[in-house]
């Protein structure tokens, strides 16, 4: 599997996991739900989105490099 696809796979999984945490935090009105969303859900989704963007940039940079 090419590197970009491996990164996209990880990105999708991180985003999915973060959003599942977000979904669970919506079940109850409780400070712990708020903190879980903020300290677990958001960083997971953020990491996934950043990894996806990085994979695009890294792949684009590789494509632009002169071929030997």
């Amino acid at each position: 599997m090419p590197t970009i696809e491996r990164r996209i796979r990880w990105s999708g999984l991180l985003i999915g996991a973060g959003l599942v945490v977000q979904l669970l935090s919506l079940l109850k009105i409780h400070p712990l739900a708020f903190v879980t969303f903020l300290l677990v859900g958001c960083p997971l989704v953020g990491a996934g989105v950043l990894l996806y963007l990085y994979s695009l940039v890294a792949h684009g940079h590789g494509a632009l490099s002169p071929r030997p």
Binding site: M1, I8, S11, I15, P31, F34, L38, L53
Partner: protein, 210 residues
């Protein structure tokens, strides 16, 4: 579950499905259509979902139910039902001077540009103390700084009942001093009975169902 939460939940579920689909079938992104699909599923939709979730969580964190979830706040919640109008929070709560479902936040936010966020930041700190620190006794819980009249005057300033109250004209400079926070509304012999949780064992309580 209200309608907004239902829509938010549906949106998050769809985003999860699409993100996992891209993860499982990463080879889809080789085609142009797949690239656009991945951009939607891994960037646009997750950002919107988190923004919606953040907005919902911020809204929830202003609710009375949220504040009283922590055990240490129980007595402060009880103080809202004291059957004595000299208790300032009880009087406000029972007479709907503050919205009952957002009672704590209405008085304990700073009415400044970033007051809401400052209050939330303090709240996150309180949660960390609740679960990982040493929780103080309710009677030992104090404000970080003396209560600012600005929070009272956010509603009361300009109100006829406030401006014309004879007690507020005992001293001609009283209203001006209150407005500039030189004289606290909670000064001795004024509105000095607030939550006073140490007095609750002797108090009687109002029951809204009566």
């Amino acid at each position: 579950m209200n309608r907004v939460v239902l829509i938010e939940t549906a949106f998050v579920v769809v985003t999860i499905v699409l993100a996992v689909l891209v993860a499982v079938r990463a080879e889809l992104t080789r085609a142009r259509g797949g690239k656009v699909f991945a951009f939607l599923a891994l960037f646009i939709l997750p950002v919107l979902a988190v923004w919606g979730g953040f907005s919902e969580q911020m809204q929830r964190s202003t609710s009375t139910q949220f504040c009283l979830s922590c055990h240490v706040m129980t007595d402060f919640g009880r103080s809202l039902y004291v059957n004595d109008p000299s208790y300032v929070p009880a009087r406000h709560f029972q007479n709907n001077f503050v919205p009952r479902d957002h009672a704590c936040f209405t008085c304990h936010t700073d009415y400044t540009m970033f007051g809401d966020y400052r209050a939330k930041w303090r709240g996150v700190h309180h949660v960390l103390v609740e679960y990982f620190g040493t929780v103080p006794k309710p009677v030992d819980i104090k404000l970080y700084s003396p209560y600012n009249n600005r929070e009272c005057l956010h509603c009361h300033l300009g109100a006829r009942r406030y401006e014309e109250a004879s007690e507020h004209h005992k001293d001609p400079a009283m209203l001006a001093q209150a407005a500039s926070n030189q004289l606290s509304c909670m000064s001795s012999n004024c509105h000095d009975i607030v939550h006073d949780v140490d007095t609750l064992k002797d108090a009687s309580f109002w029951s809204p169902s009566k």
